[in-house]
């Protein structure tokens, strides 16, 4: 169980509050107008932005003191998810052991197979297509096997078909993990997630049923959707 308890995030004159809970295994979309703070919410959860007040807990334990890498989550950024000077296999290995000393290469190979990159482990990221790079980053998240997966629009640059493919892959691989996905595309939300968090006007609303939300959009969402 992930809980945001009276959380306030403050950055210069921007602020965002959140006060809600989300259960394991859920697929939650984070949607809202540009600049409303979708990425900020995820970055605060991942530990890159300190909270001004409140707590974030996972299974009752506060996360506030944990560094980003120690938190029970993996995060995929919009870009730069792979080190360009390391091979794909090494990039995946970092998910198991950042020193790359105790890396089970069979596990890496299996993960590559599962995301459809079998045999490409020796390549550098630059030799992969955009979709393949996303798959590699996803494979690393798979290896890390953390109970939460945060997606900060990692597939934004991919075409519709490829993006749908990636979302299906996430669905397949994430299993029991809680997935939070930032998106600006309502279709993604509707296709992928049972629940949606609306971030607008300085508030990250509690997760609501996606279907219900889009059937009867609150004013902020309606403005965003242009309906």
């Amino acid at each position: 169980m992930l809980s945001f308890e009276n959380v306030t995030i403050q950055q210069d004159d921007f602020s965002l509050v959140a006060n809600w809970q989300a259960g394991p295994g859920q697929r939650i979309a984070v949607i809202g107008p540009s600049g409303a703070g979708k990425s900020t919410l995820l970055n605060a959860l991942a530990g890159f932005i300190p909270l001004a007040s409140g707590h974030i807990r996972w299974e009752g334990q506060p996360l506030d003191e944990l560094t980003p890498g120690r938190r029970p989550l993996s995060i995929l950024f919009q870009d730069q998810n792979l080190f360009p000077h390391l091979t794909v296999a090494q990039n995946l290995g970092l998910g198991l052991d950042p020193s790359l000393r105790r890396v089970d290469s069979a596990a890496v190979d299996r993960a590559l197979e599962r995301v459809g990159l079998g045999g490409l482990g020796n390549r550098r990221p630059a030799a992969l297509s955009g979709g393949q790079q996303s798959r590699a980053a996803l494979a690393r998240a798979l290896l890390r096997a953390r109970p939460m997966l945060l997606l900060d629009e990692p597939f934004a640059a991919l075409g519709p078909a490829l993006k749908a493919e990636m979302l299906a892959l996430v669905e397949e691989l994430a299993g029991p993990a809680l997935v939070l996905m930032v998106t600006h595309d309502p279709e993604d939300a509707q296709r992928f997630s049972s629940h949606t968090i609306l971030v607008a006007d300085g508030v990250a609303a509690p997760p609501a049923s996606t279907e219900a939300l889009f059937a009867n959009p609150p004013p902020a969402l309606a403005r965003y959707l242009g309906t």
Binding site: G47, G69, Q80, F83, H85, L86, P98, L100
Partner: protein, 508 residues
């Protein structure tokens, strides 16, 4: 465009550095080098290599500590790192002796403890002096490397729970493989031509460098071809070092960042202790000799001879003309190199290994048939100082120029951004920090450089370093110490102004 301009400047640079050598070589004389010269070459290379290794070895932990720790006085310390490099040689040596010499602090302490004194003179002393002079420069160059790590990489590293050793292995080590060879090369080249320091601290003729052999060849034997041959040996050695360095340089390839702000991870525990230990040690090691220079200079400040002020003005004028000249030429070279003109590398480094005396002599021979050398004092000083300072500026600009071209080269091209617009909108803003540092360094070097000016000196209009050497020759050591302090203040002042401009708005 950038490549063509680069080629033009490189050609001019090669002509300016090799032309005078050729002129000197073409004069009548016996020429040829002997076994003593080969011994000198061996010693020169040994001391330069040791000095380069030691200086960089000390600089790495210091730069790392400065990059990842935040403490009061950090900015001041980073700026002050420019100071030792700018000291006139004899001033720096006297400062070092005040700490490590026979009557210095260290031996004073040893005597109090009833221990035998240690002597600074010898190869160890040469290396120590070179560490004092060059480690701060190396630190500044390395610090730039740390600061150039994009925030995106730091974020990714944090999200993957990199421990300090992992961070070293996957981020810092590749960065150093990119930056370190260039830093080593720069220090090596500086130490290669270091002459007075080596002789004074070296303790005797065993510490004979190629540059001293050149002095002997020109002054007592008047065997110009021999001097030119020796100078070419020196240049050849540096060329070899350039080749070695570029062989060992592997581009870090960290990719573009979006200028997001992020701090480097600052691990606690013993690592924190080590970092602050390194900072404390370095601060003490650098501050004590500089403090000695200040203390020696202060008593005479109130009664500075009048001749010092015109000297200061001349030096500042030279600096004002030299720095933009050197830095703009270096910028063009660095951008052309970043666009792939690999052959520029050795050319841009040429002046660093050039013998100042041979360069001056050659220029003198070129100029003399047409104009009276004293009439050319100021232009020649500006030109030569700019040429000599150029490699430093080039070294400072190159890494970030490469990043700039790799990250935004295509974007700029696709926008048709070139010429002045590119300079104003892309290059100046993106390279502002290294540009400020390079401007400051070259300006300060110009203030402090005596160099080849001696051959072109006029009766009036002496530069401040020349005034200082005149004061010393006239027994006025106290006035010379005060004038040296003035020189240090002036050099450091221009350095500080430029460096600050460069860092304005950039978090350090």
């Amino acid at each position: 465009m950038a490549r063509r301009a680069g080629a033009l400047i490189a050609a001019g640079l090669a002509a300016l550095t090799l032309g005078p050598v050729a002129v000197v070589l073409a004069q009548a004389g016996r020429g040829g080098v002997g076994t003593a010269d080969l011994a000198a070459l061996r010693f020169t290379v040994t001391q330069a290599a040791l000095s380069a290794l030691a200086s960089t070895a000390c600089a790495v932990p210091l730069a790392r500590a400065l990059a990842r720790r935040r403490f009061a006085g950090r900015r001041l310390m980073i700026t002050a790192l420019g100071a030792p490099f700018l000291l006139p040689v004899i001033v720096a040596v006297l400062g070092l002796l005040a700490v490590f010499g026979r009557a210095g602090l260290v031996n004073g302490g040893l005597r109090l403890l009833g221990l035998a004194p240690v002597s600074i003179f010898g190869l160890g002393g040469v290396v120590l002096a070179h560490i004092f002079l060059n480690m701060p420069l190396a630190t500044r160059m390395l610090l730039q490397g740390w600061q150039a790590i994009p925030a995106e990489r730091l974020r990714l590293a944090a999200s993957l729970d990199f421990r300090p050793t992992d961070f070293w292995r996957h981020i810092e080590a590749p960065m150093l493989r990119d930056v370190l060879p260039g830093v080593l090369l720069a220090v090596f080249a500086i130490c290669l031509t270091s002459f007075a320091v080596v002789l004074i601290v070296g303790g005797g003729p065993a510490a004979t460098t190629v540059e001293l052999a050149i002095y002997q060849a020109i002054r007592f034997e008047f065997d110009l071809p021999r001097a030119a041959t020796l100078a070419l040996m020196q240049v050849g050695t540096c060329g070899l070092a350039v080749a070695l360095a570029s062989f060992f340089t592997t581009p870090g390839g960290f990719g573009a960042g979006l200028d997001r702000q992020a701090d480097l991870p600052a691990p606690g525990g013993w690592r924190q202790l080590i970092d602050f230990g390194a900072i404390g040690l370095a601060a003490t090691f650098l501050a004590l000799p500089i403090g000695a220079v200040v203390l020696r200079g202060v008593p005479g400040l109130a009664s500075l001879p009048a001749g010092v002020w015109p000297g200061l003005l001349t030096s500042l004028l030279v600096a004002l003309c030299t720095a933009p000249l050197a830095v703009s030429a270096a910028l063009v070279l660095a951008l052309a190199r970043a666009h792939g003109a690999r052959w520029l590398e050795p050319v841009a480094m040429l002046p660093m290994a050039g013998s100042q005396l041979v360069l001056g002599t050659g220029l003198f021979l070129l100029v003399f048939p047409f104009v009276a050398p004293p009439d050319m004092a100021v232009p020649v000083t500006i030109l030569v100082t700019a040429v000599m300072a150029l490699p430093f500026a080039y070294r400072i600009l190159l890494p970030e120029a490469r990043v700039l071209v790799a990250d935004y080269g295509t974007l700029a091209e696709s926008l048709g951004l070139c010429g002045w617009a590119a300079l104003r909108l892309l290059i100046l803003p993106r390279l502002r920090r290294p540009l400020g540092f390079a401007l400051g360094l070259t300006a300060a070097l110009a203030v402090g450089d005596l160099g080849v000016v001696a051959l072109f000196a006029a009766e009036h209009g002496a530069t401040l370093p020349l005034v200082i050497s005149r004061l010393m020759a006239a027994y006025r050591m106290e006035a010379a110490a005060a004038a040296s302090l003035l020189l240090v203040i002036a050099a450091f002042g221009v350095f500080w102004i430029c460096d600050r401009w460069g860092r304005a708005g950039a978090e350090l």
